[in-house]
Subunit: 480 residues, 2 copies
Amino acid sequence: MVLLQPEKAFPDKEKNFSEWYSLILERAELVDIRYNVKGFVVYRPNLMRLINLIRDELEKGLTETGHQPVLFPLVIPMSYLRKEEEHITGFEAEVFKIRGEEGEEDLALRPTSETAFYPMYSLWIHSYRDLPLKLFQTVTVYRKETKATRPLIRGREFLWIEAHDAFPSEEDALKQVSEDIRITRNALEKFGLAFIVVEREEWDKFPGAEKTFAFDCIMPEGKVLQIATTHYLGTKFSIPFEIIFLDKDGSKKYVHQTCFGPGLSRMAAAVISTHGDEYGLVLPFEVAPTQVVIVPIPKEGFEEKVLEKCFEVEKRLKRLNLRVKVDDSEDRPGSKFYKWELFGVPVRVEVGVKELEEKKLTLFRRDLRKRWTIEDSLLEQEITYLKDDILKVLRRKAYERLEGALVRINCRDEGIEASKNGKIILMNFCGRKECSEKIREDTGGYEVRGRRVDVEEKVWGPCAWCGRSAEKVVVIAKSF
Amino acid sequence: MVLLQPEKAFPDKEKNFSEWYSLILERAELVDIRYNVKGFVVYRPNLMRLINLIRDELEKGLTETGHQPVLFPLVIPMSYLRKEEEHITGFEAEVFKIRGEEGEEDLALRPTSETAFYPMYSLWIHSYRDLPLKLFQTVTVYRKETKATRPLIRGREFLWIEAHDAFPSEEDALKQVSEDIRITRNALEKFGLAFIVVEREEWDKFPGAEKTFAFDCIMPEGKVLQIATTHYLGTKFSIPFEIIFLDKDGSKKYVHQTCFGPGLSRMAAAVISTHGDEYGLVLPFEVAPTQVVIVPIPKEGFEEKVLEKCFEVEKRLKRLNLRVKVDDSEDRPGSKFYKWELFGVPVRVEVGVKELEEKKLTLFRRDLRKRWTIEDSLLEQEITYLKDDILKVLRRKAYERLEGALVRINCRDEGIEASKNGKIILMNFCGRKECSEKIREDTGGYEVRGRRVDVEEKVWGPCAWCGRSAEKVVVIAKSF
């Protein structure tokens, strides 16, 4: 096997993520930022295909757990949005508004759709027989971000799925939260991402939620990115929206609700940033729009034979239900190699006269940038192995970064030191907002992300920052 | 075979379409109109599943012909929208606007996206090597309809696909128009719909188009509904947006463009209205979210055996890649029959003790409302036959209605008579707008839909309305 080391096209993403990210979005033809409205960008085909695969995986998880698709209006009357007080306080500043026509009220472009869904829930839910109600929609949402925007990570328009569920009891609703976590975990594992799951602090919950759980993905430079949240809403919305059901025992009760928002744009950003390298995108088979590209290496007089072989290989791989493509364009093989590496195609098959004569095929795997030759007859077996192995390697690499970034600290000085080294911090925490603000100040922006719930962590000492008695172990990190 | 005639739940759609349509949208749980914003409705799961299947079929057609998915911003700067004069004149009154922030211009919610796409096309297209460029997006669009709205047919928010293509020549662009027509025709045939394809008159073209071709679907009460259009734009947008390419011969040229808009909401309305009957929805296998429902007929002591058989049948049908479901809810079989008929499931399989003992299965096909018994071993064969036959029967029925509605007229009196009988009129036409306005006046709303292009019609006399010499045969009908 040969490890290829041609000239690198991109800077080191760990040292200069901003530049790396901007370059890859442009060169891999993912996003065009030249659309003339602040915070709005164009999603190009390479990105949309990636996002559609991410979407399919999450929609599959939702469908398998009894969720049904719906589509609610984009516009939400301001009076709906105002029904739950914390909710509107959390969103009002970010709302894009359409002026109501004469005698009609102003309309918000959905920043999230609790207040669109729940007036209908009060019309649809009457009895315990109507429960659980589990609906989702895949839509764009709109938030007038005031911070600097960054495509897919922080924009004024982004794609997500939002699921809104209603249950007869708190117990059922909390079970749903676990199910949402399981659905997300299963999907993210297929994308090869490393993540932690945390319960957000009181002051950092979704506006209107009783509890908020979040998936934070590790990104370059040791930052984290929230890519999905699930919330236990309790009866905070069912009381103002009067979502009441007649229980088996004849009593009237408020439903207990959950909502769940996996962010499709952000998951794409995480996939791009986690796996990409100095040569471009790297994608696991699961979300690669093209999984195998076949490149003919032409030689005068043998063009037809070579191409014929390429199409035979394509046919064989299509039988394995793979998304495969012969690049029979007029470019030189070198340009093709460059382009498909840049676009992150997991495996390249090269077919030339040498391969024909020796009944061999040359393979290239994008993640390790390794090139080697196999017997033609072993193609199917090899590709099947690579499908698994590439995901394994990418996931292992992502987790090694996460594990390498995590550090336990026992005092403020250790914390400041860790923050300077771009670490993700685990520490005992008193639970006070003031303390979290002090941490942010002392570290230049590290935030308390919350109590880790995917791994059980036991308090081993006092609050590392203020020395008061600690009530939990939390994750502290810089976030996008 | 037994033809079932229980009490009908709906009025005759040919006599009272409005009432029939409103009832079916509500009872088949397709749409909820109680969302509190004029012209905006909620798409419920039964509708979204239907629309997703329609979408998949059209996206497949587009993908197979080289179109790539994108997502452009919802908001379009007013200055973009104003770049092509006819275009803005056609849309400005219908535009929902978001007030621009200080120093920034107002933004329109896309009523259609030519003016969002084409500024980027001028950045992406440089050489003939960049052509053809064929992109599409599946999105909601927004038009402030002033007429009375009707869910899925005329609303302020609806779902469609829009494809925007650029070519080096008029010839290539016109070929694309034919391809768009073929894609649409193939899809509509799978949905069992009857339609005519027409070229719209000069005054009835898409704002900014050189030529507009439309699919008009026949609906109850003899009306037609436009469910897709494709437009040859020529260089009408490429000139103001400066979409220029360097041709092979070294000369700079404007691209020739097409755009294509199959309406997903309207196609769903056409499927619902064409096939539905007095018992509810009727769906062909192709767009039925559930294709076969299996209903256990319980008998005390045999519940388990009956259910076991149901799941065996489910397993066998899933092997045929069918969307199948066992209804093991607690409702009585009668309620289940009623519900799944209402929801339009094409085939029901009933399994009871009698079936177990005799190794038989009872089938019910929704389109003909026929119930009969088959040998258990013939299940796969029978369902495979029904899949084809139901579509054939629905399509034949739809075409019989269309053919029965079409009438050729030779003079104004015949035209007025035909319009009173709810016919769709074919006539020789002078091509003048004044004449079309006279027709509308005389008939209480019949419109010139355009020259039929799916069937060649030769002029056989003077203009039926004004007696001037005729330049073409046109279709005249009342439309939604």
